[in-house]
């Protein structure tokens, strides 16, 4: 068994893709634990653990965003944000954040937001006289709004792994997402005053009504998704198909959709789904070993024995997930840690929806935290800025996000009030 950590580190250092790293380590663990005969269930395990209805919302929401961005909605969202907050000091910073709020309604991923917006915002902010690292940092930090405001790929993943209602999670993400946007805007306003950032001039700000009309279809998408769920037209998974349908219609409103565009969107969706499914497949092998060896039970007993209960256990989890978020991709951390830590939290009476919001927010903070701040990496790659200097500029944003995270953990009501109003049963 002592060989396993050694092999793990070797695979890690050589840059092995996580799915194959985890799959190989899990299979070697079976051999070392003298449970080799159980390897015969591998094909069934891989199939069965992917064959989960709730996961279907993942490819369908990815497809929605792929169609919408290919149809060119991004520019209309930026113009609309400009028309609202462009005139203030630090205006482009506010626009950057507000665009991410709008973009969050069509995309379930922070990386997608960073990738779609950094090439537009960072050069434009630099041209208007912003510090380039500040421009990169605010782009990366605000992209975290993407997976908090519905739809959200990681919440679908969380719902699929824990059985929590995805519709309730979506509803629960609205307030924290808006709070995050407000907190970042307040910070931006303060920084604008300290750093004497430029403000928009009336000449460069587009007028409100025409830009609202251009942006309306994209802004309507989250309304359509949540509306179809709350009015009971569709289940959460089916809501993702309705989102695709809406994107196809809205796409006609923008540049129109060519066959080529559709094929590319479908192909990108399949490939992205593949990167996550192969991880799910590999982790499922480890999960089976954990079940056979009773690891989750052992961990539960340990947690009990040191008296971590209720809120204290929740804060313990916040710590674990924060560290995990700094080193791992969000879906990777979710698939790895949820089966291990979440059952005890639920057994102790933590509401699964509240927990989902806290943990997803938690992991997202890791997206702009070194060493592996995935959003910082993407912005750095697309703009040619130095990663570490940008990470330094992101520190105030990280601080604000941490404060909000603690508030979300401490006051469940921030997450649960909206789902309760929408008629979901939560604690």
């Amino acid at each position: 068994m002592w060989l396993i950590p050694f092999i793990f580190v070797l695979l890690l250092l050589s840059g092995t893709a996580f799915a194959y790293l985890m799959g190989a380590v899990s299979i070697l663990s079976f051999v070392m634990a003298d449970k080799t005969q159980f390897l015969s269930i591998l094909p069934q395990r891989v199939f069965a653990q992917l064959d989960v209805f709730a996961f279907m919302a993942m490819p369908l929401f990815i497809l929605t965003a792929e169609i919408m961005t290919r149809a060119g909605v991004t520019r209309s969202l930026i113009d609309f944000a400009l028309s609202i907050v462009g005139r203030f000091r630090g205006g482009l910073g506010h626009v950057n954040i507000l665009t991410s709020v709008f973009f969050a309604g069509i995309s379930g991923s922070a990386i997608a937001d960073s990738a779609a917006l950094s090439r537009t915002f960072v050069p434009e902010m630099v041209e208007r006289g912003y510090n380039p690292y500040y421009a990169g940092a605010i782009t990366a930090a605000s992209s975290m709004i993407g997976p908090i405001i519905p739809p959200s790929i990681i919440m679908i993943l969380y719902g699929g792994l824990t059985g929590a209602s995805v519709a309730a999670l979506f509803a629960a993400g609205i307030v924290p997402g808006i709070l995050l946007a407000v907190a970042l805007m307040v910070l931006n306003a303060v920084m604008a005053r300290i750093g004497n950032h430029p403000g928009g001039t009336a000449a460069t700000v587009p007028s409100f009504w025409p830009s609202l009309r251009r942006a309306a279809p994209a802004l309507l998408l989250p309304v359509v998704i949540l509306g179809s769920l709350v009015l009971g037209l569709a289940t959460p998974t089916e809501g993702s198909a309705i989102a695709v349908l809406f994107a196809l219609i809205a796409g006609q409103f923008y540049t129109g959709l060519s066959r080529r565009m559709l094929f590319d969107a479908l192909e990108a969706t399949a490939r992205l789904t593949g990167t996550i499914f192969i991880i799910l497949a590999a982790i499922s092998v480890l999960g089976f070993l954990a079940g056979q060896m009773g690891w989750s039970q052992a961990l539960a007993d340990w947690v009990d024995s040191i008296g971590l209960t209720g809120t204290r256990y929740l804060f313990f989890l916040v710590g674990i997930f924060l560290i995990a978020g700094m080193f791992m991709d969000t879906p990777v951390a979710l698939t790895l840690l949820i089966p291990l830590f979440v059952p005890q939290a639920l057994a102790q009476g933590v509401d699964p929806v509240h927990l989902g919001i806290v943990l997803c927010f938690n992991l997202c903070v890791g997206l702009i935290t070194p060493p592996l701040g995935k959003c910082l990496v993407v912005v750095a790659a697309l703009t040619g800025l130095n990663y570490w200097r940008m990470a330094l500029a992101a520190l105030p944003f990280i601080a604000v996000q941490l404060l909000l995270l603690l508030a979300l953990a401490y006051w469940p009501e921030l997450s649960l009030a909206v789902p309760r109003l929408a008629g979901f049963s939560v604690n």
Binding site: I41, Q44, R45, Q292
Partner: protein, 304 residues
């Protein structure tokens, strides 16, 4: 080591299948076996539990009826509405009608063995969010969650309608109104914490919700004669224990629902007959081969 894969939380108060598993495990332990309960989900989902039984990696599994039906759909007969008067009648019919022999002949090719069919709880009633149901007419405007074609046909025969919603989306579906209800045992809304939004239960007594206890044939056949006799005795003990539990909870399950704030409609025999008569349409639909339906009706009649 005999691993028993559970299908519910280990709760003797609400789970018929856990009553079975606990009694079976206790009897085996007494006979000198080493027994280990595997918590729900720890060995995987239904498809995985079945696969592990057939490969000899799992000794005992509390599986769904579909696991058996994917090898021999004949077993679906126990889901015919109002086929059995009660759980005891169902057990007599399965024994006397040679159902175990027939199903096990088919399961044999898959190295699996059907040891028992276990009632999950008292017979299924109509579980709804807002509407109190006492007659088929009360369900006219409802959309019910259906398991399969046969249930959709039954709801239609009642003048209601059915739709397919996976179990994982049932809570959200009930809360948002995608569906208005489903059919199951009275303990199910309690077990799954749905009593906040499930407001009505009607004890229509449509079917006996059941689980299939599957054993690995390899394991069973490699037992010594004494050991096999001990296992067979443990099955009987577990069947008896579950029957005793069922008798005990027939009424208390309904009061438990009421304590959780759910309104319970206790139907009279005449009211239940209204559902029974309309349900007969399902027997004549061609969803199940008519020979099989006739066979089940004969089996049920002979053991009534």
């Amino acid at each position: 080591e005999v691993k028993i894969a559970l299908d519910t939380a280990p709760d003797l108060a609400t789970s018929g299948s856990y009553n079975w598993a606990a009694a079976f495990g206790a009897a085996l332990t007494e006979a000198g076996f080493e027994v280990r309960e595997m918590p729900r989900g720890s060995v995987g989902n239904e498809a995985e539990m079945f696969d592990q039984v057939t490969t000899g990696l799992l000794e005992i599994s509390l599986s769904d009826i579909r696991s058996v039906a994917q090898v021999d759909p004949f077993i679906y007969g126990i889901r015919l509405p109002y086929l059995f008067d009660d759980a005891a009648h169902m057990q007599r019919a399965l024994q006397e009608g040679g159902v175990f022999e027939r199903v096990n002949a088919a399961l044999g090719t898959q190295e699996a063995l059907l040891l028992a069919v276990v009632p999950l709880g008292p017979s299924s009633g109509i579980i709804t969010t807002d509407t109190a149901v006492r007659s088929p007419a009360d369900m006219a405007s409802l959309r019910m969650r259906a398991l399969d074609d046969a249930q959709i046909a039954m709801y239609e025969a009642w003048g209601s309608s059915g739709t397919i919603v996976p179990w994982g989306e049932v809570p959200a579906g009930l809360q948002t109104g995608v569906i208005d209800g489903y059919l199951n045992s009275p303990f199910v809304p309690i077990m799954f914490g749905q009593t906040d939004f499930v407001r009505n239960f009607s004890d229509a007594g449509v079917i006996i919700p059941a689980r299939a206890v599957l054993a690995s044939r390899q394991w069973y056949e490699e037992l010594s004669d004494d050991e096999r006799a001990a296992v067979d005795a443990a099955v009987e003990a577990a069947d008896a224990a579950t029957a005793a539990w069922l008798a005990e909870v027939a009424e208390t399950s309904l009061t438990a629902l009421e304590e959780a704030g759910v309104t319970v409609q206790r139907l009279t025999d005449e009211e239940r007959d209204a559902f029974r008569e309309r349900s007969l349409a399902v027997y004549d639909s061609d969803l199940m081969p008519s020979d099989d339906v006739a066979r089940w009706q004969d089996i049920a009649a002979a053991s009534r």
